[in-house]
Each structure stands twice: as C-alpha cells, then as structure tokens.
C-alpha cells in the first residue's frame, strides 16, 4: 500500500521536474522573493540610519527589529505569490492524465483512489517544499549578517510551509474536477484567493459568523505563525485543510464510478 503511494508520488515528482512549467514557476518565485527581500532590507537599512541620525531617537533605533520589518512582510508576500503559483504546479496532476488517457491506466490498476490522491499530493508537496526551502536562503543571510530572533523566524517558515501544503491540497482538488489545465489553474486560483480573503467581512459581521470566518481564513492562522506563535489550533487547522481537501479530491476521483 505504501509502495503504491510512493510509486505514484515518485512519478509525479519526477514529472513535475521534467516539465518547463516547474522551472518557470521556481525561477519566478525566487526572483520575486529576492526582489522583496532586497527591498525590505534596503528599507530597513534606511530606517536604521534615519533613526540613529537623531540623537534623541537613539532608543527608537534599537526597537527596530529584523523580524518585524523584514521577515514578517517577506513571508506575507511570499504567501501571496504561492497562492498564485501553486495552482500552476497542481493544475496538471489530474487534468493532464485525463486528457492524455493515462487516467485509465491509473484507475484500472489494483490500487485505491485514495492511494492515487495521497501519492499525487506527496509528489506535488515535495516540489513545493523545495520551493519554500530555497527561500530559506534569505533567512540564512539575515542570521549570518544580522541578529533576527531565529525561533520566531523558524515558526514563520513553518507557517509558510504548512500554508503551501494546504494550497497544494486545494489545487489538487481543482485539478481533479476537469481535464482542462487552464480551468484547473483558474479554479484553483479563485478558490485559494477566496480562502485568503474570506475573513474580510469578519470585522463588521456579528458573532458567531465573525469567528467562523476567521477560523476558515488561511490568513489568520498564517499571520499568527509569522508572529512566532505556534498554536495547536493553527496546526490542527492546516492539517485538517490538507486532509479535508484530499478527501474531497478522492471523492471527486471516485465519482467516475457513480455515473
């Protein structure tokens, strides 16, 4: 059973790496990440020199910290970019197989649809994990040349990774609905953006709607982790997102047997 999952995952992972989409996405992600990082550091530098040029504000300069002014906004920006790029990676997973007919091979093999879904998730998650891990270089630069709070930063990166995995699960679901990659990508993107902004009306809505919206929203849990808070509530949220969307994906794959 685990062998089946790994067989699917291995093929998925390798297939992502042989597609040009992966390299375009990876390059774009790192390019934008580098641009954000450079600008945030430059702004931080300016603030530090401004503040310390006034003697009476010497104290204020000490209160500037890398976590708040560089790491947190960097992670927030990377999260938005992931929302846009993850669907580009996941759009192929089911849609492409349906279009080329390899879907028939998978579904006429003695393996469960659940195993197919988990395998595909692991394959895509592997790639996304590498993408997120590569942005760790910015954190490493900060540690090497500055003094950020490493714990807070690591919590933030963990949050980014968990967020990315949840996005992958949603993207897979979108891909399982169609045999058209563009539709899969757009559906995934729209669903993810909705999940991102779903808490917007929370401030004006009364209870209990407000807290429900806040709980569903990816942003709330992610922001907490970026501030260095690893709450079990957030961990449960992200894992239930992954499991829940994978379950829906499995249902969607299985649904061919109901028609």
């Amino acid at each position: 059973m685990i062998r089946n999952v790994l067989t699917i995952a291995g093929r998925e992972f390798r297939s992502i790496f042989t597609s040009p989409i992966a390299y375009v996405v990876l390059t774009g992600f790192l390019l934008l990440g580098g641009w954000f990082f450079f600008n945030l550091v430059a702004r931080f530098n300016l603030l530090v020199s401004l503040y310390s040029s006034f003697q009476q504000m010497g104290d204020a300069a000490n209160q500037l910290n890398l976590n708040e002014f560089v790491v947190a906004p960097l992670l927030q920006n990377l999260a938005v970019i992931l929302v846009i790029l993850v669907p580009m990676i996941t759009m192929r997973s089911f849609a492409e197989e349906k279009r080329t007919g390899t879907y028939e091979l998978l579904l006429t093999s003695p393996i469960g649809t659940g195993q197919i879904v988990v395998g595909k998730f692991l394959g895509a998650a592997g790639f996304i994990t590498i993408m997120v891990a590569l942005t760790g270089i910015y954190g490493w630069i900060l540690v090497a040349y500055g003094n950020p709070e490493v714990g807070v930063m690591l919590a933030g990166y963990l949050g980014l990774l968990l967020l990315a995995l949840a996005l992958v699960a949603v993207g897979l679901f979108a891909s399982s609905l169609t045999e058209n990659q563009i539709i899969a990508a757009v559906t995934g993107l729209v669903m993810l953006l909705l999940l991102f902004v779903i808490a917007w009306p929370a401030d004006s809505a009364g209870e209990p709607v407000a807290s429900i919206l806040r709980y569903i929203s990816v942003t709330e849990h992610f922001s907490e982790m970026v501030q260095g808070i690893i709450d079990t509530k957030s961990l449960i949220y992200f894992s239930s997102m992954v499991v829940g969307w994978m379950f829906l994906t499995q249902r969607s794959v299985e649904s061919i047997r109901w028609r």
Binding site: T7, T100, L105, S109
Partner: protein, 252 residues
Amino acid sequence: MIEVQELTKRYGDRVAVDGISFTAEDGEILGFLGPNGAGKSTTMRMLTGFLPPSAGSASVAGYDVVREADDVRRHIGYLPENPPLYPEMTVRSYLTFVAKLKGVARGRVRGACDDAIERMGLGDVAGRLLAHLSKGFKQRVGLAQALVHDPAVLVLDEPTIGLDPRQIIEIRSLIRGLSGNRTVILSTHILPEVSQICDKVVVINEGRVICEDSRENLTKDATLEEVFLRLITADTARRESTAQPPEGAEPA
C-alpha cells in the same frame, strides 16, 4: 476466461450497452466487432473496472468486476484506444512504473520489464523518451504495458487504429503470439483483422449482441464482410420497424 451476462451501461436516458452477454475461453482470441459507437469501448471499460456497469454482471479470470474489482485489475491487461503513455518518461522507466502499479513483486519488476521489452521488440528504444517514438512503437509500448504483469486476460481496444500497413501486420503478429493460454479480447471495426487473428467473433450493434460464433462458422459460405454487412443491415432494419412511432404521429 471472460463471462459477460446481461451487461448494461446507461448514461442518463441513453443506453450505451444494452444487456450484452458472451463468453471467451482460456486461450481464445475474441474479436469484438461493430460499427463506431456500437458500445465496444464502453463494454471494455466495464470489463477492466474503469466504469461500473449499470446492470448485469461480468467475471474476468474468475473474479467479479464489481465485487472483486481489485482482483480483476490484477489479472487483466488493458490497452485503451489511446495508449496511456507519459511522454516525458523513457520506455524502460514507464514499464517499471506500470509494473509497480500492477503489483508485480519487488524482486521481479526488472525481469518483468525486460520480458515485455523483449517480446514487443522494444530493445533498441528502451532508453528513448516516449514522446519521441513513432506511432507504431507507441502502440507496442502500449501492448507491453498491458502484459508487463503477465495477466490472464488481455483487453485491447482497437489496437491497430491509425497505424501504417507494415505496423498493422507487426502488431497483429505480436497479438497472435501473446495468446498462448491467455484470453484476448480485441475490439475493431477492421474486418480482415478479425479473419486473420481471431478464433471467435462477437458482433454488436447499438449496444446489443447480434451474433456470437466461431470465425469458421461465420465465414463458411460468405466472406466476413458480407456476413457483417448483412447482420448490421438486418439488425438496423428490425430496430426501425419495431421502434415506436413518434408521439403525435398520424395513425395509419
């Protein structure tokens, strides 16, 4: 062997396969014959466990296609109409993937792939990407994936479609070589194919079996072409005469 009883597939109101029954013994090559849209692919998809039947039953290699679907999938090799290939993989890595997927034991995966590569004459292209193969070779890889796990039953959906004459001859002789004690069922609308490789013929039209017989019996006093046309025309005429007149039609 394959036993099909009253197998039916409905899509909403449309009946794609309408209660068909036939059997194929071990070692037999059964030709599944019919015009385009007669329900050949749908039947095959039900036999391979890709689609569930709406009614009726079928057993493949002794397993029921609904209740023991995974056992059926383990003992069946299936070549869909379009060979299910991943263009970015090499022939060997693709066959290795399929062998693992079909549950070939860990230690035997390599041997099974070597076997399939040799039988299908793919030795020279084993390291090539599937995207770069000619159509004939793609079809051979399709056959190789169907038999990599040494299944008792092979289901081939129009295995020679779109090939040039030389490739068609090659594929046919490969299929003949495959039978042994396997049951092979292949669908086609190319009649010479049936007369050349099949032992038994099942003709279907608009979702129903209109003839099930051995090839020798069918071709005793007419060519297969004549028999086929006679059957299809008679069946279509019978259907039209028994069909209900459209609602609101003037009584005669």
